[in-house]
């Protein structure tokens, strides 16, 4: 892990590290510490005095039905986005991995949504699903489905899930395709000779061999759904109608920025940090052991 041949000197490397460390300390470590500290404080309504309240903020947050609702929304939202984005991407990657004509064209056409910002992805889908100007929204209403994501919470949730998953499919597709291409052809041929038909081959050989990729992507997709989709929700539904699409991260924002409830917002932030740390730990443990074969 370390190089044998190195340069001498102590001042120079420390100087080189300075910019990165300064930014990290000032904008990452300090605010994170502040979040932890603020999560232990309570401010009065006028912001005149603060007192130390221990874990009260956490107890309050966890007991708060609004937070529980947001947690439930997040669970539904994140698992739907992950399953949808992973499933569609895996299916498309398997098709693209077959030696067929036009493979490069398909690949190019499938990867560029990665470049679209989550907030813009939301805008694009709004153009389609808007009840009065959207092509699909109007078609649904014409077909007798009462479609208005601005009024119906389930429809709003569906729309943010689609807009979020749509963008993430590209990313997953690239990794699944690379994973598939990393499986030796001869192993698949051996399975064919052993008598396994394509579908069986997929579930008994291809899918198990892809599992490291799948696991890695699952973590990445969950992190994406938890945090990066803020833009989708903010641009599309603002957490509404009601609180139907308010996720945990969106609530942190609303409570901190709009409601200025710093203690609660900080406690929620800390809970989310714990979640990210846990996910990262799991992932690194897994990467260390690399794979199960």
């Amino acid at each position: 892990m370390d190089r044998k041949v190195i340069f001498k000197g102590r001042a120079l490397p420390m100087l080189l590290l300075l910019p990165q460390l300064a930014v990290t300390l000032v904008f990452f470590i300090w605010p994170a510490a502040m979040a932890v500290w603020q999560s232990l404080l309570q401010q009065d309504a006028f912001g005149l005095s603060t007192e130390f309240v221990g874990l009260d903020n956490f107890a309050e947050v966890v007991a708060d039905p609004a937070w529980r609702g947001a947690a439930a929304n997040t669970a539904v939202f994140a698992s739907s986005v992950a399953v949808l984005a992973l499933g569609v991407a895996l299916f498309l990657a398997v098709q693209a991995d077959k030696a067929i004509r036009g493979q490069r064209f398909y690949r190019t056409m499938l990867i560029w949504p990665y470049a679209v910002a989550p907030a813009i992805s939301a805008v694009l889908w709004l153009f389609l699903f808007h009840p009065s100007i959207g092509l699909i929204g109007r078609a649904l209403n014409a077909a007798g489905v009462m479609w208005d994501y601005q009024l119906n919470g389930n429809q709003a949730m569906l729309l943010v899930i689609i807009a979020s998953a749509w963008k993430q499919v590209s990313y997953n597709f690239i990794f699944f395709l690379a994973g598939l291409q990393g499986i030796p052809k001869s192993v698949l041929e051996a399975a064919a000779i052993d008598g396994a038909r394509p579908l069986r081959r997929f579930w008994t050989v291809v899918f198990p061999l892809l599992s490291p990729t799948t696991f890695f992507l699952l973590v990445v997709n969950l992190v994406y759904a938890f945090f990066d989709t803020f833009g989708v929700i903010h641009a599309l539904t603002r957490g509404g109608p009601g609180k139907a699409t308010e996720t945990l991260i969106y609530k942190v924002y609303v409570d901190g920025v709009d409601n200025l409830n710093l203690g609660s917002s900080a406690a929620q932030s800390v809970l989310l940090m714990l979640f990210v740390i846990a996910l990262t730990m799991v992932q690194f443990r897994f990467v260390e052991r690399r794979v199960h074969y």
Binding site: R3, L16, F28, Y106, V123, L124, S170, F227, A235, V257
Partner: protein, 291 residues
């Protein structure tokens, strides 16, 4: 089973497999392209057509005026900022973030890999744990730091906090570990100091990695949403992704949708072009940073 039947089945299965692949991929491409197509088409019609909900599937004749309006005046009833300025702001932000991340990550990876000094591993781990602290989970305190440093409404405030990069540092560290010892020894024998070695040997060798990472980071920077939303409230500094979302407002039917759609096209064109044109770098950057 009859062999002829088996043979026919084998062929049918092959044909079906190929057909399914093409059909699925074509459908996939369609689903992925459809929202973009509708937006492109929308940007070529007048506001009334879209407002009535009669968005046609083929382009109209108002492209020039829509894009001119979006570019020079902006659209939306509540919030009008010309796209030209917002594009420039987005470009500045994306380039500063990508360039900044690469620069400080190169330096810190170089220090960590090629030197031994006290607290080296502590510094490394400090950088490393930023992986676990995305902006979103420390919004309020980071915002307070910016306010205290008087960086609100500034490009410094917009980009500096996003410049620390554990991923980029890890990538460069990984790459530097593969540089053969002979290069370093040769440089030392030639009397080249560490800075010279960095400039003349290490940087040229890292060009591929820098390019690949640059593509990913440019897109990352361009697509920032939450941070600019918080840090910028001066409209002249608005980035296009945030500006576009603000134009939509609450999704009112009376919006100037044609101009908004033209703005949406302008907002996604740069990163999409980067991905399509620099596809090779993009894929390399993506698959290598995330390992």
């Amino acid at each position: 089973m009859e062999d002829a039947v088996l043979a026919r089945r084998a062929m049918a299965r092959q044909r079906r497999g190929r057909w399914l692949a093409h059909a699925a991929l074509a459908l996939g491409v369609l689903v992925f392209a459809f929202p973009i197509w509708i937006t492109l088409v929308g940007s070529t019609h007048d506001a009334a057509t879209i407002g009535r909900g009669d968005v046609p599937l083929l382009p109209g004749s108002h492209a020039l005026e829509n894009f001119a309006t979006a570019w020079g005046e902006g659209g939306g009833r509540t919030h009008t900022t010309p796209a030209a300025g917002m594009l420039l702001n987005s470009a500045i932000m994306a380039l500063l973030i990508a360039g900044g991340k690469i620069a400080i990550s190169l330096l810190s990876a170089y220090a960590v890999v090629f030197f031994r000094f006290p607290l080296r591993m502590a510094a490394f781990w400090t950088i490393f744990i930023t992986l676990m602290l995305p902006v979103e989970v420390r919004i309020i305190p980071t915002y307070q730091v910016i306010v205290n440093l008087d960086l609100f409404n500034s490009f410094t405030g917009l980009t500096l906090p996003l410049i620390a990069s554990a991923t980029a540092t890890l990538l460069f560290r990984q790459f530097f570990l593969t540089i053969p010892d002979e290069y370093v020894e040769a440089a030392q024998i030639d009397g080249a100091g560490p800075l010279r070695f960095f400039r003349d040997i290490l940087l040229p060798l890292s060009v591929t990695n820098i390019a690949a990472l640059g593509v990913i980071l440019f897109i990352y920077g361009w697509n920032q949403y939450l941070w600019p939303l918080l840090i910028i409230n001066d409209r002249s500094m608005e980035t296009i992704v945030v500006g576009l979302a603000k134009m939509i407002g609450s999704g009112d039917t009376q919006n100037e949708w044609n101009t908004i759609m033209a703005t949406a096209v302008l907002a996604m064109a740069p990163p999409v072009l980067v991905v399509v044109v620099l596809q090779r770098w993009f894929i390399k950057g993506l698959t290598e940073t995330e390992k």
